[in-house]
Each structure stands twice: as structure tokens, then as C-alpha cells.
């Protein structure tokens, strides 16, 4: 530790910290453009100048200056102020005065610092530099004339995203930040460079000229477009969600967000179900809530309980699942399943289906075996975390299955699942790596659980974890990586077939006469008999809604107070940012209202009562804090009598950009699919 004095405040920081970090610890803000905590130090903007006593009498860039014991730093001396004013004047020489038409206006670091250190008029008489605006694809809008060459975007794509597609070409005043060859950014994390850019050089293309930051209402919430549970901020104006930005949570998403989660907002307005529909004479017609409730009630009464079933989809919140489960308990039907992909596996213990190591735990791992998962598509921010771990050194990864460039080297073990047996008996060379690792991680893609031999894979993955010392009270290296935000919550809430209950596959192949699809939009309806009566409850008119006989319009994740459980088992709450459109309502309310109609009144009248009952039924929903699990019981999940097949492990998603109803409804995401071929020009 080093003790230093900054503006008269004494702070103690670890050796190797920089002066700017020490100042932060002392609560002193130093202006900066190029420095960023999560990127390497570039030291090229010179805005963070400070004066340090007993050093050469000139200003020092505090981001690149390591602390030493007894240092005396001044961050607001005359020398510092003059230095920063000079830097600011140079930065503004070539920066256009187009703030009124710049989307960064109001949240621009350069604008803010210019208020503190800028001159009132420019002394620069010559022509300003102008740089042509390139095309980087449908997400990021570069206006490179505004660029101040801080290289944050270059460092982000190189270090965090691992695609290295941006660079600083040419030199001196001609320096240009760009891709050099005309191409769309291929990273799934490209939107983050918009947040990182301290000026208006990189702004959001879909959001261009939409709003000013001071017009927006900000709501803290949780992302549900993958299962990571990234913390987000929803910016709204009136009834519209205008943009979604990441919030900092070091244990989950740090401060990054995947492009799908960020840019699918336009999908929240398109193809929405904003009122109930009823099928009459083979055609759907608009109906009132009373009409559809009556129709559902009649149908429920006319159908034997064991011929009623419900399947929950990927975006359903825990409250809704609990309400539906309670209703089905009251109806006397055991036919529930939250695994719309038809997966069947042993979910009897929570650690069987969680990402047990936790996202932050990736930082501690020293070997990784990916089984049938492409984290770059299924959870890009988590993939960046794995890359960060790899960059730190002493980490080896291998992949069973197919994935393109993961942004870190992974030994390809082939897509044949039998290779797992070779790992287990130690005959495969990578087994030695796993055996030597102190904290090995095994990540099983949840998509593989839907295979006919999913449960066998599940059991085998656990055996591997047990064999290679991944299971101990201190370290839990068995991980299931879900891609659906609703899945962990559904499993936690026990939204699974009861005794004698039918599974997703059975329900979808004529096992029930009345099928209630709770946002189950990816369920395979091709085998569903025409006679099955389908109720669809959800927020988008996708394939399941088209098949439905009754449509109950629900609320999307931005429109409800709702609980979601991330793949690592973190219970988090989304908050209402806007009202659901038209007659659409929060899903648990729909179920509660219907229960009264159907004569099976559920015993909660508001969200608090529902949550109290939920916590009573499943105590973990009442616990606020997140705890990483250790393992105490080596007994693994049952293979459910399945044998391991030899069909290759295939990726669960064909494309990253469109995987759920919201992103499928998004024009921006459709453009991404059209423009950005998966893993274009894989670079490492």
C-alpha cells in the first residue's frame, strides 16, 4: 500500500495504482477522455494532468503515473488549470461546433469539460479538419470529424470484445479511427463503444436524432434477452422506450451490454398484441377481456384437468409462473413445463441447473470446458468475461461442439459427444489440463438439454466436474449456461410437470386438449393436433399467437415489475418503465382476473401479496442477497435412463441477433442479421 496526499486529503491505495485511481479513492474527480477503468491505459488525451511535488516541474498525466509513498499531488493548482486549458484548446481545434445537431449533446464529456476548461472563443484561424463518415453497420453511427482520438473504442474492441476491428490509421493530424477496410462491426458488444466514446463521434444509429438526455425518464431494470441478467437502465419518453443502456454491476455485466439487449428496443413497439383476440369461424377477431375470459372459463370447465396443460416461454417472469402454477394447482392439472424446447433433465437440486461458479467466479477459474455452447451468441457479456480471464493468463479452454471464433483460443475437441467419455476416462489429452487445474469450470449449454440424450449429457457433464475436482465446498465448477431469462426462475419456482404430469413434448403432440402457451414462442407447434385448443398469453404476435384460438395480451419486460433469475441464480427485479400498450396487462394480473372468472380464485390481490406467497413457497425469492454455492453433495443428476448418443452437438442459435419475439420484431436486429454475417472475418 502507498500513502499519498491529494489536495490535502490522505489516501492509501495499493501499490501499482495510478494517481487518477488514488484521486478517485480520495473522492476527487479528475477530468479524463482516454482513461477508462476497464481498459488499458493509453495516456494520449492529456486531460488528466496534475501537479506532483518533488517531480520535474511540469504537469503529469495522472492516468499513467503510478503512485509512490509520500507523494503530494495537486489536482487544482494554477499549473494544472493552465495545462488542462491548453489541452482543451488543442482538442477543440479540430472538433466541430456542431453540438446542436450532435446526439451526444447533454451527455458529452467534452462539452462538460469545455465548460470548466474551455476558452470562450477559438484562436484557431485555419480550416478545421474534416473526416469522411464511414459506415460501420446498422448499430454504431460514426461521425469521425468529432473524434478526439482517445482510442477507447480501439482498446475496447481489441481488449474486451476481442474482435480487433478498429484501429488508428494514418498519423498526426490525419489520424483516423476506423476499420480501414469498409465493413460492419462484427462484435456482439459493439454498442458499448457508443457509451465509451467521450464525444459524439460514435452514437447510436437507431437512436439518432430521437431525444435529448434531459427529456428521458430513467428506470433501473434487468435485461431478459439472454439469461445473464445484465443490469440495465431503460430510458423512456412518454409511452416509448427510446433506448436501453447498461448499468454497472461488477458481479454480472460489469458495465457492458450485448447488442441484442441494447438495440432490440424497436421490437417492443412492433407486432405487439394490444388487445384480446378470439378465434371465430377459423378467424381471429378482436374481443373484449370479458369475452375472452368467458371463453377460457367455458373451455376450462369443459376440459378434464389432466387434459389441460401449460408451457412457459423464455421471457416469462417468476410472478407470472407462480400465478399460473397456483391456478393449475387449483384446477388440478399437473401438466406444467417451463422448458418450451422440450428439454428433460434432473432438476431436483438447484445446483444441477445453475451457473454455479457465478459470473464473477470466472475470474478465478483456470481451465474451462465448454460443452455444446457458444457463449459468444448465448451470453456475449459472459463470453467477454471468459476472454478477460484468458487475457490474464494461466487459463486454458476447450470446446466440445461447434462455435466460430470465441475471441479466445479454445481447443476444438470436435462436436461428437462421445469425446466426453474420453475425457472422463482420461484418454483424451485435454483431460490432463482439467486434472491439473485447481479451479476447472465446465459449462454445459442449456440448448443441449433438449437433445434426446440431454439428460445423459447433463449427468456426464456433472461426472466430469466431479472427476476433475470442480466440486468442492469452496468451488463449484459445474455450470449450465441458459439462454432464456425465464428458465432458471421457472425451475426455481418448480414450474415443472407434477406427479403424472405431461412434459412439453407430450403436451405438444396431443397430450392435452387445452394448451395454454405462456409466452412460449419458440415451442415446436408442428406436431400439435388441429383439435388442440390453444390459449396464447404473451406480448408479441409471433408464430404461437398465430396458432392460438384465444390471445391474452400481456406485458413485455419493460412494462412490468417482475422478478427474473439469471443463469447464475441471481434473483433480480425488473421495474415498470412504460405502460403496456392498449388493453394489454401484466401477466400475473391476467391470470389472477381469470382465476376469479373460472371460480378458482387465487389468494393474492396485489404484487406484494403474490410475492409474499411466492417467498413462502420458494424461500429463495424472499432472499435479497446472492450467494455463490459450494458443493456438498457429489451425487450427480440422473441420466433419466438415457444413453449418450453420437449426434454432433449443434449450436442452439443460428444467429445471435434474433432469438426471441422482441428481437424478431426488431427492424434493427433484422438489419444486423442481413449485414453482419456471423463471425465475419474472425480476427485474433
Amino acid at each position: 500500500m502507498a500513502k499519498l496526499t491529494i489536495d490535502g486529503i490522505e489516501v492509501e491505495v495499493p501499490n501499482g495504482s495510478s494517481v487518477i485511481q488514488a484521486a478517485e479513492a480520495a473522492g476527487i474527480e479528475i477530468p479524463r477522455f482516454c482513461y477508462h477503468e476497464r481498459l488499458s491505459v493509453a495516456g494520449n488525451c492529456r486531460m488528466c494532468l496534475v501537479e506532483i511535488e518533488k517531480m520535474p516541474p511540469k504537469p503529469v498525466a495522472s492516468c499513467a503515473q503510478p503512485v509512490s509513498d509520500g507523494m503530494v499531488v495537486h489536482t487544482d493548482s494554477e499549473m494544472v488549470r493552465r495545462g488542462r486549458r491548453g489541452v482543451m484548446e488543442f482538442l477543440l481545434i479540430n472538433h466541430p461546433l456542431d453540438c446542436p445537431i450532435c446526439d451526444q449533446g447533454g451527455e458529452c464529456d467534452l462539452q462538460d469539460e469545455a465548460v470548466a476548461y474551455g476558452r470562450d472563443a477559438s484562436r484557431f484561424q485555419e480550416d478545421k479538419r474534416a473526416v469522411p463518415a464511414p459506415d460501420w453497420g446498422p448499430l454504431v453511427k460514426p461521425t469521425m470529424t468529432r473524434c478526439i482520438h482517445c482510442t477507447r473504442c480501439v482498446r475496447f474492441t481489441t481488449e474486451v470484445a476481442g474482435t480487433a476491428e478498429l484501429g488508428a490509421t494514418y498519423r498526426g493530424e490525419s489520424t483516423q479511427i476506423g476499420t480501414f477496410v469498409q465493413k460492419a462491426l462484427s462484435s456482439e458488444l459493439s454498442g458499448n463503444i457508443i457509451d465509451l466514446c467521450p464525444v459524439g463521434a460514435l452514437t447510436s444509429k437507431p437512436y439518432a436524432f430521437t431525444a435529448r438526455p434531459w427529456e428521458l425518464r430513467k428506470t433501473d431494470s434487468i435485461d431478459v434477452l439472454d439469461a445473464l441478467g445484465a443490469n440495465i437502465r431503460i430510458d423512456t419518453r412518454g409511452p416509448d422506450v427510446l433506448r436501453i443502456l447498461p448499468r454497472i454491476n461488477d458481479d454480472v455485466n460489469e458495465e457492458w451490454l450485448g447488442d441484442k439487449s441494447r438495440f432490440s428496443v424497436d421490437g417492443l413497439k412492433r407486432r405487439r398484441l394490444d388487445q384480446p383476440w378470439l378465434r371465430e369461424h377459423g378467424k381471429l377477431r378482436k374481443a373484449s377481456w370479458e369475452e375472452v375470459f368467458e371463453a377460457v372459463t367455458n373451455k376450462l370447465k369443459a376440459t378434464a384437468p389432466e387434459r389441460i396443460g401449460t408451457i412457459a416461454g423464455d421471457l416469462v417472469d417468476v410472478e407470472t409462473l407462480f400465478a399460473q402454477k397456483s391456478l393449475f394447482a387449483s384446477l388440478g392439472s399437473p401438466n406444467l413445463d417451463c422448458r418450451q424446447d422440450g428439454a428433460q433433465f434432473d432438476a431436483s437440486r438447484r445446483e444441477f441447473y445453475l451457473f454455479n461458479s457465478s459470473v464473477a467466479g470466472i475470474d478465478d477459474a483456470d481451465a474451462l470446458l465448454l460443452i455444446g455452447t457458444n457463449p459468444r451468441h448465448e451470453a456475449p457479456v459472459l463470453n467477454a468475461r471468459i476472454r478477460k480471464r484468458w487475457l490474464a493468463g494461466g487459463f486454458e479452454a476447450a470446446l466440445v461442439g461447434e462455435a466460430g471464433d470465441l475471441t479466445y483460443p479454445a481447443t476444438q475437441l470436435g462436436a461428437d459427444p462421445q469425446v466426453l467419455n474420453n475425457l472422463l476416462d482420461g484418454s483424451h489429452p485435454f483431460a490432463a489440463t482439467l486434472a491439473n487445474a485447481k479451479k476447472p469450470m465446465i459449462i454445459l449449454g442449456a440448448g443441449q438439454l433438449a437433445r434426446p440424450d440431454g439428460a445423459a449429457l447433463h449427468a456426464l457433464a456433472w461426472q466430469l466436474a466431479a472427476k476433475f475436482g470442480a466440486l468442492s465446498p469452496e468451488w463449484h465448477g459445474f455450470n449450465v449456461l441458459h439462454h432464456a431469462a425465464a428458465r432458471t426462475g421457472g425451475l426455481d419456482a418448480g414450474f415443472l410437470p407434477g406427479p403424472g404430469g405431461k412434459t412439453t413434448r407430450e403436451m405438444l403432440t396431443g397430450g392435452v386438449d387445452l394448451l395454454w402457451l405462456l409466452g412460449a414462442d419458440e415451442a415446436d407447434l408442428s406436431q400439435l393436433p388441429a383439435s388442440t385448443f390453444v390459449i396464447y398469453q404473451g406480448h408479441h404476435g409471433d408464430q404461437s399467437a398465430q396458432r392460438a384460438d384465444i390471445i391474452l395480451p400481456g406485458a413485455a419486460y419493460t412494462e412490468k415489475d417482475a422478478t427474473y433469475v439469471s443463469t447464475e441464480g441471481r434473483v433480480q427485479r425488473a421495474q415498470v418503465a412504460v405502460k403496456a400498450p392498449g388493453l394489454a396487462r401484466e401477466d400475473w394480473r391476467i391470470i389472477r382476473a381469470l382465476s376469479a372468472y373460472a371460480g378458482h380464485v387465487l389468494r393474492f390481490d396485489n404484487l406484494e401479496e403474490l410475492r409474499a406467497q411466492l417467498a413462502k413457497a420458494t424461500p429463495l425469492f424472499g432472499q435479497a442477497e446472492f450467494r455463490r454455492l459450494g458443493n456438498a453433495d457429489l451425487t450427480g443428476p440422473s441420466a433419466l435412463g438415457q444413453g449418450l448418443g453420437s449426434a454432433p452437438l449443434t449450436p442452439v442459435f443460428a444467429t445471435y441477433y434474433q432469438t426471441d419475439v422482441i428481437s424478431r420484431a426488431s427492424k434493427t436486429m433484422a438489419e444486423c442479421v442481413a449485414t453482419i454475417t456471423p463471425h465475419a472475418e474472425a480476427a485474433e
Binding site: 484501429g167 488508428a168 476499420t179 477496410v181
Partner: protein, 202 residues
Amino acid sequence: MTPHIETFEFDEISEPKVAKAISHYPAGKQASAVKTLLDLAQRQVGRMTGISWLPQPALDCVARRLSIAPMRVYEIATFYTMFNLKPVGKYHLQVCTTTPCWLRGSDDVVAACKKISGIAEFGGSSADGLFTLSEVECMGACVAAPILQVNDDYYEDLDTAKTEALLEDLKAGKPQPPAGSLSGRPSSAPITGQTVLTDKAE
């Protein structure tokens, strides 16, 4: 016109030099050889097509060879003026206009180049594809200013007449004269003749 280059791989002449350049650096630090490889690639393109420049396939080949992201190669290649990212004429004329050369009459050299080649501005090429004219910073030969570099060779102690004569010869298809001072003095000896080291060493 420039033949279009679709693909590029190092040929059997470049390959030993590439391997040698990479061997100069410790394992894992092979990226340090990037500038040598770019130069070798540029010369190879010159051998192949008569025009020394770096088409993108050549840049990508260097990146592949060094296992670095192509962008890192683009950054280096665009930083240095010695790498031609556009096709240049058969003779790449590089005139130094930094202060010593300028004081010694580099403006005349530039004017002579423009006159003979017909190039209007720096960076341009002549219509016959013979010449490309570039303005460069100090070439480190101020003692014999002003200087014109033609491809790899320096021509020193120039004035309007000497420059014009040199370029006319090139235009007429004559081979490049030996590099060095065109005023006749040996290396950088005084213009009035050698004043020291006149005795032959014992």
C-alpha cells in the same frame, strides 16, 4: 494499368527473408517483424507487377504470417510513408522539402519534377504511369541537399537542370544512373574538392 491483385502469398525469393526476419525476435514477439515483412511484401509486388505497393491482400498476408489482427498491420502500414498503399509509377519520386533542402533549392527540384512528369500536385502520378511524386520529410542527407529519391536511390546536389536531365533520361527509358551526388564530388566532400585525408593511408 495496375494489374488487380486478388491474392498474395510470399514467394520463394521473399520466403527465406521472411523467416529470417521473424527469427530475429523471441517466440511470441514475432509481431515485431511487421515492418520488415511489409517491406518484403512491397518489393515482391514490385517484382511481380513492376509497381511496388501494398494491396490489401498483401497486408492481410503479413497479418496472417505474424498471427496478428489485420487492423494492427493497417495501422503500421498507414503510419509510414515508405509503404505505398496505392499503386505508384515505375519511378517513385520523393522530394525532401524540409528546411535544409528547401534552403538549398528543393523548390526548384519540385518544379522540375512537376514539369518533366506532368504531375500537378504531390501524391499524383503521371498519365503514362512512369512517375509518382511525393513530398517527404528529412531523408537524413542534408549534407548533399537538395535530394530527390528515385525508388531506392538518393540523387544529391540537385538543381533544375540536373533534375530535368535525370528525369528526361528516365523518361527516355535509359537505366537509372548510379546513386549519389550529381555534381561529381565524392560522397560528401566539399564542393571545391577534398581538403582533408588527401594523403593515401600508409
